[in-house]
Symmetry: C2
Subunit: 242 residues, 2 copies
């Protein structure tokens, strides 16, 4: 895929990313963006697609998730868009297989026919879950997920109202989270003594589970409050006259 | 913020988004993208920033999270970039306050000084957690999170190796998840009879918690396997000669 640079004024770059020029300069000053290769004077330079994507990501981290600059810096450093270093890869090769063994739920425990019948799924719904990577060879972890979905169903979160395709949000965001967690672990665990490493790696998924649950609840609360606040009496949401 | 359209060849658009022209045409055919306003002939049109962002998102959903087209369609429809409809807003106004009441952990249970001492945090670490929206007025939910982090600490996930700023990944992705969950609920719960609605809304966060946990574990397993597979014997990863 081509990643040709374009020769752009900083103003054009700003417009494409949906931020102001001042903001771009601020990001460069803070070290979130590297200064572009400048050609003529101080307002033009070569920017490639990765630069624009990075800029748009920083905008979303600040404006949508209200993250401070030093946290954004950390997120950019940890993201999955660079290959692992040799050290990180070596660490993962050492601990990966045993963590896989621990997380792996083993082979099939039900047949396709049994799954369809027990969970009242249509062929199409099951196929979609398989396509999404949520269900594999019908092992114990697949059954766990299907049980959890059935529990939600009995609580009124029916598939009729909340179709299987809506699970795509969980796939997108939890897949992204999982990938980053694995990379961060490979990166940050470098200094852990070998005799402790395996034990820590084994427990990492378990001990971070409640952290994920609590943070999610906090943000559900924040999201509901934010949506309710938007609909306060008109006086509080009136726009300034242009 | 300006959202001026640019007059581009489809090939230039493709290059900016990092996909092929064939792929863009395929997305248009599948209804993931609307056809651009064409001007001269069939290869040029006006594309605005939102169009490019949407295209880049579709690319990432397909190439990074392996999602099928119909799931991507659903994700695009549900995303938080449009305001709630009047009906969705009305539903949220009806159920929001009682769900907030249920999720709300109440007022402060510890002082700042007690938090710092009990959890061995530096002033800076605590301030960063507050800035990230993870800690509020030191209520029961804050204490729950700090307890969960301490448990991880005793399991070897120390702040020395895994600094507080690394929690930014959880903030980014779980905030995004929570926002979408609230919106999807407001959207999908429209047909639920009023007498059941409040009960379902109250339970929705609880019953979806194990779903989140199980999917995350599945994807951690997948991510480790993927990283290990990259490092298989050279023969399996050799690139074809150009």
């Amino acid at each position: 895929m081509a990643t040709t640079s374009e020769y752009l004024r900083i103003g054009e770059l700003a417009e494409r990313a949906g931020v102001s020029v001042t903001t771009i300069k601020y990001y460069i000053r803070e070290g979130l963006l590297s200064p572009p290769t400048m050609k003529t004077g101080r307002t033009m330079g070569y920017y490639d697609r990765a630069y624009l994507e990075r800029l748009m990501l920083i905008r979303s981290l600040r404006e949508e998730h209200y993250l401070p600059v030093r946290v954004i810096k950390q997120i950019l450093a940890d993201r999955g868009d660079r290959p692992l270093s040799a050290d990180e890869a070596a660490l993962l090769a050492r601990i990966g297989p045993s963590v896989v063994q621990r997380l792996d739920a083993g082979g099939p425990v039900l047949t396709r026919g049994q799954i369809l019948e027990r969970y009242g799924l249509s062929e199409e719904e099951l196929d979609l879950m398989i396509e999404m990577g949520l269900i594999g060879d019908f092992n114990a972890s697949d059954v766990q997920l299907l049980d959890a979905l059935r529990l939600a169903e009995t609580a009124g979160i029916t598939r009729e109202r909340f179709p299987v395709s809506g699970l795509g949000h969980y796939v997108e965001l939890l897949d992204e989270l999982a990938k980053r967690e694995v990379r961060i672990f490979a990166h940050s665990a470098a200094g852990i003594p070998t005799d402790q490493l395996l034990d820590i790696a084994q427990r990492a998924t378990d001990v971070s589970e409640p952290i994920v649950a609590i943070i999610r609840r906090k943000f559900i609360l924040r999201a509901i409050r934010a949506e309710l606040a938007v609909r306060q009496p008109e006086t509080t949401v009136q726009k300034e006259s242009p």
